[in-house]
């Protein structure tokens, strides 16, 4: 009985909590992005080998990191949801997926932009690129599965199972450069040649990574609020909010 009350109450309290957190993360994301981009374009010096093109790295690497990290978080929430049947964790997974997909797309796209000057081709079929592409496919597949299933509870669990099965792809992406002999990654070596530059680079990249973090948190909180409202629209508190709008 207690547990039931807890289950019903959790979305409501979380809804309120999320509402309070969103502005902070949104502003944080904006400010960090501004700083990061400033460092990227004005502070970081031109790379002597790659020219200006390397500045893509400030978007590329954080986006690539986030695309994998968000997937892992989704897998975590899916596992929790399947194990303890907590509705909120499924909602979290659903809220995260679109952001993850955007980052996956961004990493592919910026990588492709970078690849043209670096490798002379937009795209090559090496292990990291391929596995990143598969990550995008997985995001799309999971989201299509959700959208194809009308029943939210069924959709939650089906999506969670697929998320877990696909999770094996993340380590493959991450270690692909070590396991296979690939084109990707050669770049870092040229950058470490000038230590001072590596420092600004690193700072810029970290700032951008935090910006991506904040952005991901903010967007998924917004989305999870929407999902909670939709799921709970028959409860009193949600109906009140919906009417208030």
């Amino acid at each position: 009985m207690n547990l039931a009350i807890f289950k019903y109450a959790a979305p409501m309290t979380f809804y309120r909590l999320a509402g309070r957190m969103i502005p902070w993360f949104a502003w944080g994301a904006g400010i960090l992005t501004a700083i990061g981009l400033y460092i990227a374009f004005f502070v970081a010096p031109t790379d002597f080998q790659q020219g200006e093109a390397y500045r893509v790295i400030f978007i590329h690497v954080p986006a690539a990191w986030m695309s994998m990290f968000i997937y892992l978080v989704m897998a975590f929430w899916s596992a929790v949801g399947l194990a303890w049947n907590t509705r909120l964790s499924f909602m979290m997974a659903r809220a995260l997926a679109p952001t993850g997909m955007v980052f996956a797309f961004l990493s592919l796209w910026t990588g492709a932009l970078w690849g043209k000057p670096m490798w002379g081709a937009w795209w090559v079929w090496d292990a990291r690129l391929t596995s990143s592409l598969i990550l995008l496919f997985l995001y799309v597949g999971i989201m299509s599965l959700w959208s194809a299933i009308d029943d939210p509870r069924r959709g939650d669990r089906a999506g969670a199972l697929l998320t877990l099965v696909g999770a094996i792809n993340v380590p493959i992406i991450y270690f692909s450069v070590q396991w296979w002999n690939t084109l990707h990654q050669g770049a870092t070596i040229s950058m470490t040649k000038a230590p001072s530059m590596a420092a600004t680079m690193l700072i810029g990249m970290l700032v951008m990574a935090f910006a991506a973090w904040f952005y991901a948190i903010a967007t998924s909180l917004v989305r999870v609020r929407g999902i909670i409202l939709e799921r709970e629209r028959h409860t009193e508190w949600a109906a009140e909010i919906l009417e208030g709008k």
Partner: protein, 229 residues
């Protein structure tokens, strides 16, 4: 809850389909030799309730216990004592009735000789259709094949969702006989039907899902519920 003879006990059950809550706080218990007759208008949740009872679907809240144990935790044991006949017959179009019956028996772990299958089907009035692929059987005949499977499973608890659909007058009488027999021998039945049922002498436990449907004056009421979430 402390009635030891009640093999099937349901406590505070709630069911949701999609975003819609069909019923909440349902309680009942069923003893051996009793038949639970679930009543209610279209779309009120009868089928959904039966599927919860089979364990195929998960309730929103509440518990279903068989011999004192939650069925979610003891599926295999429960399924050994329970048989379900839903809207679908669960027979394969490509196979003949005999093959269908033997297949079902084999999958449930108690293989059946061809002669036994023939006998069971003959008893249920399918003597002349034994060797036709089920595809060409009529709706009522297919229903009878499924009923033969049900009887053959020898389960203690039968869960039947509108077993009379598609049956003609003879078929209905036959099913009524089967039900009476089963309950007389200490079996248990949970069933639903929209048709009248002649089961005199059987201990019937009624259960209403949704409001009781009465005379057609209250069209307004009916409309008001039609899209209630």
């Amino acid at each position: 809850m402390t009635d030891p003879a009640a093999l099937l006990t349901v406590h505070n059950l709630a069911c949701a389909r999609g975003e819609r809550t069909l019923f909440t706080g349902m309680d009942f218990r069923l003893r051996q030799g009793e038949l639970l007759l679930v009543r209610g208008g279209n779309g009120r949740g009868k089928t959904s309730l039966l599927r919860l009872l089979t364990g195929l679907a998960q309730p929103l809240a509440g518990e279903i216990r068989w011999r004192g144990q939650a069925i979610a935790g003891s599926r295999e044991r429960y399924h050994r004592e329970m048989a379900y006949l839903g809207h679908l017959n669960g027979i394969k179009d490509e196979l003949t009735p005999v093959e269908n019956l033997r297949l079902a028996a084999e999958l449930s772990g108690a293989p059946m000789a061809e002669a036994a299958a023939t006998r069971a089907l003959t008893e249920i009035g399918l003597a002349r259709c034994l060797d036709l692929p089920s595809r060409v059987l009529s709706f009522g005949q297919r229903r009878r094949v499924a009923l033969a499977g049900l009887v053959n499973a020898g389960a203690l608890l039968w869960i039947l969702d509108e077993p009379l659909t598609g049956l003609d007058v003879h078929g209905v009488a036959l099913v009524e006989g089967l039900l009476r027999n089963h309950v007389d021998q200490g079996g248990m039945v949970v069933m639903t039907t929209h048709q009248p049922l002649a089961l005199d002498g059987v201990a019937i436990v009624p259960l209403q899902v949704g409001p009781v449907l009465t005379a057609p004056e209250a069209v307004a009421e009916e409309e008001a519920t039609c899209c209630a979430s």
